[in-house]
């Protein structure tokens, strides 16, 4: 026994699988050099949307997959990020970089304010509450004159492309690297989070709240932490998207579709697994963009029909998501070794 114990102590903390390391290195290299092959604006746009939704779905994965609380109004934090940076820029000329931080701050504060009363409610009620809050926030922004009410805010064009104003007129390439950077940093931080004390305790809260509280875990506090982290991850995507399309309006930024998409993508790919959201996004975003091409501007309804169909198939045949199709030892959540 003594031998086994000392042997166990020698084991590395994390089971780093060579396949994963090699795969990630290859993927990173590919993503960095991809624009250099001159893929053209459509493919750059496609990749930008993949990065953006990968972060947004990961945000949802933190609250739903890691802590087990279903949020149906996560688009609210996207919109808050978009409006925070855009309003500060339009009104006061504040750099969007600072605007991103302000958006993250507000998203976090609002998540805590919502979370304190709502996360005391058990499962279903939190989901319903977030849905209603998501819709209410959209209505508020539709009526709010200060931020342009229903017509929203136009971000004035700079004369030249600029990293400080985050506007690039000649090429989508800088946007590509901008979104790629946020994507990589987000995934690294979420990986770090899930393998920290907070991550362990969140999984405990998700799996069995009663047992968790017998181990000294303040359940409400940890749910609120997860919700706030999730909101803080979501907000910068709103800010960046605003810079990408240079307009913010309540219809687009607080769209219910955002809240539904992040859920669909995460569940499709594999909820609770760090790679699940990325996989779901890598499938659904191209599907959505291509159906838009084939069926014209109003093709968005067709992709939603397809999503619904795919999701039904997933629920029936692969409840753990598509990630579960991969060999188990590849994708097993960084199992403690």
């Amino acid at each position: 026994m003594e031998n086994l114990l000392s042997q166990a102590r020698q084991e590395p903390l994390w089971n780093t699988n060579r396949n994963i390391v090699v795969g990630l290195a290859a993927l990173s290299l590919f993503l960095v050099v991809f624009p250099l092959f001159g893929p053209g604006p459509f493919y750059l746009h496609l990749m930008i949307m993949i990065f953006m939704y990968a972060v947004m779905s990961q945000s949802w994965n933190v609250i739903a997959g890691l802590s087990g609380q279903i949020s149906l109004g996560h688009g609210a934090f996207f919109g808050i990020g978009a409006y925070a940076s855009s309003y500060l820029y339009v009104q006061y000329g504040v750099s969007p970089w600072l605007g991103i931080l302000v958006g993250m701050f507000f998203a976090g504060i609002i998540a805590i304010a919502i979370g304190i009363p709502m996360l005391r409610l058990s499962g279903h009620y939190f989901a319903i509450a977030t849905l209603l809050i998501g819709i209410s926030i959209q209505v508020i922004f539709q009526r709010w004159e200060m931020v342009g009410a229903a017509s929203g805010l136009w971000i004035p064009l700079t004369d030249e492309s600029s990293w400080s104003a985050l506007q690039f007129h000649d090429s989508k390439m800088p946007y590509y690297y901008l979104f790629l950077g946020f994507f990589v940093v987000t995934y690294l931080l979420v990986w770090r989070l899930s393998s920290s004390k907070i991550g362990f305790r969140l999984r405990a809260v998700r799996d069995d709240p009663q047992a968790a509280s017998s181990l000294g875990i303040d359940i409400s506090k940890y749910k609120i932490i997860a919700y706030a982290i999730s909101a803080v991850i979501m907000a910068p995507m709103g800010s960046l998207f605003a810079q990408y399309i240079l307009i913010v309006d309540p219809e687009r930024m607080f769209s219910l579709e955002i809240s539904i998409m992040v859920l669909l993508m995460t569940v499709l790919g594999g909820i609770g697994n760090i790679w699940g959201p990325l996989l779901g996004v890598a499938i659904l975003i191209p599907l959505s963009e291509y159906t838009r091409i084939y069926f014209g501007g109003t093709g968005s309804a067709v992709d939603l029909i397809l999503y619904g169909l795919i999701l039904m198939l997933i629920c029936v045949f692969r409840p753990a998501g598509l990630i579960s199709l991969f060999p188990k030892h590849w994708i097993e959540r960084e199992k403690q070794r």
Partner: protein, 240 residues
Amino acid sequence: MNILSVEGLGKSFGGIRANHDISFAIGQGEILGIIGPNGAGKSTLFDLITGYTTPDSGKVVFDGKDITGLRPDKICNQGIGRTFQKLKPFADLTLLENVMIGAFARENDIRHARDKALEIIDFVDLIEKRHHFARELSTGQRKRLELARAMATEPKLLLMDEVTGGVDQRTIPGLVALIQKMKASGVTIATIEHNINIIMEISDNILALDQGQKIAFGKPADIQNDERVIDAYLGRVDVA
């Protein structure tokens, strides 16, 4: 010195008095056995002490502090650990991860938590199973998991709810030996137990409950001969 004293604890659910005016104390380093027929209020008593249920009356004093009505996580931080009658392992986490979550009650550093968890897993003799998911373990092994997980929070007092219940006969002696080993390591223990032979063997004192009330408290030998306990629980053998 008493580490835990319970004074006049009471709780009703609807019209049912699940616990009524229960008082007793546990001395430092002792094992208290709790017996009683099904529905006697044993698990309710644990829930009242550990904050899962708020008492209607009475108080719980632990280590000199009034802890009545504190939340379960605060109770754990005060130094009371517990296991559950209906086991509650984190099924999709490994044994090691389960116990690490317990260790995080006192540790922030992941490596310290890991090393401490390994030590406790070794203590409960499951070291070779450390990377197995909890759902892959047998019932007896999951009982050990719960004990290890609770031990990892460094409790001064550990409440065990039917550790030997629902496991096959061969694994019982090992679990009993483990309880005694835990006592030897300095933990005070209160254990709910249906197996009368075990309880007589390991307990320093026994608390007998029936229909939510204390019917006896004392040394095993005295409890064995107590009229009310025999009536309520042990059963009377008619000698003609």
